[in-house]
């Protein structure tokens, strides 16, 4: 259990909060990229411990939340087909599509399985040769190596009944999109530690230089977040804009090279629609042509499905850090975890769900 209790120590937290208070002389606005970080901040009440002039903006780093509606609808269409076993990480099951979610498809008789890993899905495919097994490959760079491995293994073992519905998204293009969008007020970033575990942080250096923003690669425990904030605020106060690695117990500059090699062998960059944000160039992964037989969109011919977002939901503004969840008129009323209008209310990493569960609208 090392690295859990140590990184939740109240004495250490108090020290860091005191250091942050000492260091801050001006108001600063900092975005934490990853939804996991957002949850830690709200769950442990970190935002309430910080000086009032530090504003935390919750970033788009929730893979569930940014998966576009049309891909959810494609997933629902595939999962409803007879003879399909549709496998997914648990938190995708409640994400609303245009009309239904995967849990409803399951209740209606669809064969929907929760798995921990695409390799589990691969094993289901091996055990059920007469069924088509599809894995919903959602996630940032963090989950890409495992998905690449599953597809690679399927091809090597000539497994024909497995395919991947890929909706991979990438962090650096999203940061660039946020920084180059009009009206952005974000002055520093906490980058997502787990993404950098795979990819390293070389690609963030040119972004920090180009936009003159400090970026701190940060972990997910309360002490990680407070250390990351202190490092970011320190740079802002002294006018620096480097990429610093707070999460050095896990992340190296070059990342995990074998994992990256596998990703690049199986995937190539593609333009990707982000739910609520829109199209960001080269911000996703699709399967390379030599793996096209494993692309579920082609296999099940669902490429034509398009979808329209709920007009009430302001997920786009929330994911870009322009609004807070409780700024939404539907928050907690028309939009609740039982009745989500948008994905940020569903996922365990979504900003709206974090605010709702941990009561930021009530306290």
């Amino acid at each position: 259990l090392k690295y859990i209790t140590e990184y939740r120590s109240s004495t250490e937290a108090k020290k860091l909060v005191a250091l942050i208070k000492q260091r801050v002389t001006k108001p600063w606005t900092i975005m934490e990229i990853c939804g996991g970080q957002t949850h830690t901040i709200v769950k442990f009440g970190i935002d309430g411990l910080l000086p009032k002039n530090i504003t935390l903006i919750h970033g788009p780093g929730c893979p569930v939340c940014v998966t576009p509606l049309e891909i959810i609808d494609k997933a629902l269409a595939i999962a409803s087909k007879p003879n399909v076993i549709f496998t997914s990480y648990g938190d995708m099951l409640r994400v609303p599509g245009s009309k239904k979610d995967l849990l409803t498809i399951k209740a209606e008789g669809g064969d929907v399985h929760i798995v921990y890993s695409p390799i589990d899905a691969l094993n289901i495919a091996k055990q059920n040769p007469d069924k088509e097994v599809v894995f919903f490959g959602v996630g940032f760079e963090t989950t890409a190596p495992a998905n690449a491995m599953a597809v690679h293994q399927a091809k090597q073992s000539e497994l024909k009944n497995f395919s991947l519905l890929s909706s991979h998204v990438l962090v650096p293009p999203a940061i660039e999109a946020i920084l180059s969008s009009q009206g952005t007020n974000i002055q520093g970033f906490l980058a997502a530690g787990h993404v950098c575990t795979v990819m390293g942080y070389e690609e963030y250096i040119p972004i920090a230089q180009k936009y003159r923003v400090p970026i701190v690669v940060t972990g997910f425990e309360p002490i990680d977040i407070l250390q990351g904030l202190l490092m970011c605020i320190g740079q802002l106060e002294s006018g620096n804009y480097e990429v610093i690695n707070q999460y050095s117990r896990v992340v190296r500059l070059e990342g995990n090279v074998p994992a990256k090699n596998l990703i690049f062998k199986v995937f190539e960059p593609t333009d990707r629609n982000w739910r609520g944000i829109g199209m960001i160039p080269n911000s996703g992964y699709k399967l390379r042509p030599e793996y096209i037989d494993y692309d579920a969109v082609i296999k099940f011919n669902v490429g034509e499905i398009i979808a329209e977002e709920s007009k009430l939901c302001i997920a786009g503004h929330i994911l870009q850090g322009m609004k807070k969840p409780h700024d939404c008129p539907a928050f907690g009323t028309q939009c609740t975890p039982e009745h989500p209008l948008g994905a940020p209310m569903v996922s365990s990493e979504g900003a709206c769900a974090a605010y709702y569960h941990y009561g930021r609208n009530k306290l």
């Binding site: 442990f44 009440g45 963090t142 990493e349």
Partner: protein
């Protein structure tokens, strides 16, 4: 027959559920969280309304011939039927015993009904029966009546068990959410969340290696010793489905009091905490089967706590929070680093996360 029934229903009954998205029942409707609450409040309560049901406690309480009784029922549909630390049989016996104990009652008699799927191995059935025998003996209750049905293969899931139970409530014992007062201390009898994690670890397709065992066990003996220490125990609840968070929310809501707990005081084993971290589960929402939450008047809290610690099922008992006058109906928690957050009722089952 079916047609006639459905016509009657359609003409005489308009569904009051506002959850129009749900034309059919979802698993979450049985998950013990918000959707279960909706079923209870919108469908069951208006239909069955009576004074014994309305408190919505773990069991009904009533008086016959001057003696107070508690009566409770529960069905068990767990998959898999064998898990580290117990079986569906242990659960079925202990679950109803615990529901009665949460009314302050001493359980006496249980009924049991089996719905068995064709094809269940006789060996497995025997294991289940033996575990029920052992659990009943351990808690000193008798299984006095029962029923068996067998359904076609595919129409059940190995075995479903229902148990009902009746127990007597000793004089001076009065368990009711309405008795809860500001200042009451909240005591739990040990480490949380082991049952849910133990079952998860052997669920088909989601297996992981762990030494975590279910805490499944009868609480009636512990409750008896608690009442020997003090009669100022105002309410008790066993935090089964939906975990500690849901049980506390139920009490906050029915007693219309605020509850605040302290994360650093909640007992949890390192193994369970680690498994929850990996799965992305909040242990406050994970099921327990041998835990109770007791609301005790502040003057007697230490005495009750010490007594609990002497009992084998209470050695790691701890005071985890108290009843406050602020935010009635709401549960808040002081986090381990000193921040504050709301502990909400869970909507639906917790699902393993992406990353």
């Amino acid at each position: 027959m079916t047609n006639q029934n459905s016509t009657n229903i359609a003409s005489g009954f308009t569904c009051p559920l506002p959850i129009t998205d749900y034309k059919s029942v979802l698993l979450a409707h049985g998950g013990g969280g918000k959707l279960s609450q909706q079923l209870i409040h919108k469908l069951f309560l208006p239909s069955f309304q009576n004074e014994f049901l309305e408190p919505l406690h773990d069991g009904a309480q009533f008086t016959i011939g001057g003696q107070r009784f508690a009566f409770s029922t529960d069905s068990y549909v767990i998959n898999p039927i064998f898990f580290p630390g117990g079986t569906i049989g242990d659960l079925a016996v202990n679950g109803t015993i615990n529901d009665l104990a949460m009314c302050g009652a001493k359980p006496l008699f249980l009924s049991t009904a089996f719905i068995i799927e064709e094809g269940l191995s006789m060996d497995d059935l025997w294991k289940v029966i033996q575990s029920m025998e052992t659990a009943a003996k351990q808690a000193d209750v008798l299984l006095v009546t029962g029923d068996t049905k067998v359904v076609e293969r595919g129409k059940g899931d190995k075995i479903f068990i229902n148990t009902s139970g009746i127990g007597i409530i000793p004089d001076g014992v009065n368990i009711n959410p309405k008795n809860v007062k500001v200042g009451d201390k909240i005591i739990i009898n040990g480490e949380i969340a082991s049952h849910g994690i133990a079952v998860m670890s052997v669920r088909e397709g989601l297996e992981f290696e762990t030494k975590i065992k279910s805490d499944c066990g009868p609480l009636s003996g512990l409750v008896e010793t608690m009442f020997s220490a003090s009669r100022n125990i105002h309410v008790m609840r066993d935090p089964t489905r939906g975990g500690v968070a849901s049980a506390l929310n139920e009490i906050a809501s029915s007693a219309q009091v605020g509850i605040t707990i302290d994360e650093s005081l909640i007992p949890i084993s390192d193994e369970v905490r680690g498994a929850c971290e990996i799965l992305g589960f909040d242990p406050l929402y994970v099921a327990n089967e041998g835990k109770l939450l007791a609301f005790v008047s502040p003057d007697d809290a230490d005495k009750v706590l010490e007594t609990m610690k002497q009992h084998p099922l209470g050695t790691s008992s701890a005071i985890i929070g108290e009843v406050v006058s602020l935010h009635p109906g709401m549960v808040t928690m002081k986090s381990s680093i000193g921040g504050t957050r709301v502990v909400d009722m869970l909507s639906g089952e917790q699902l393993p996360r992406i990353c």
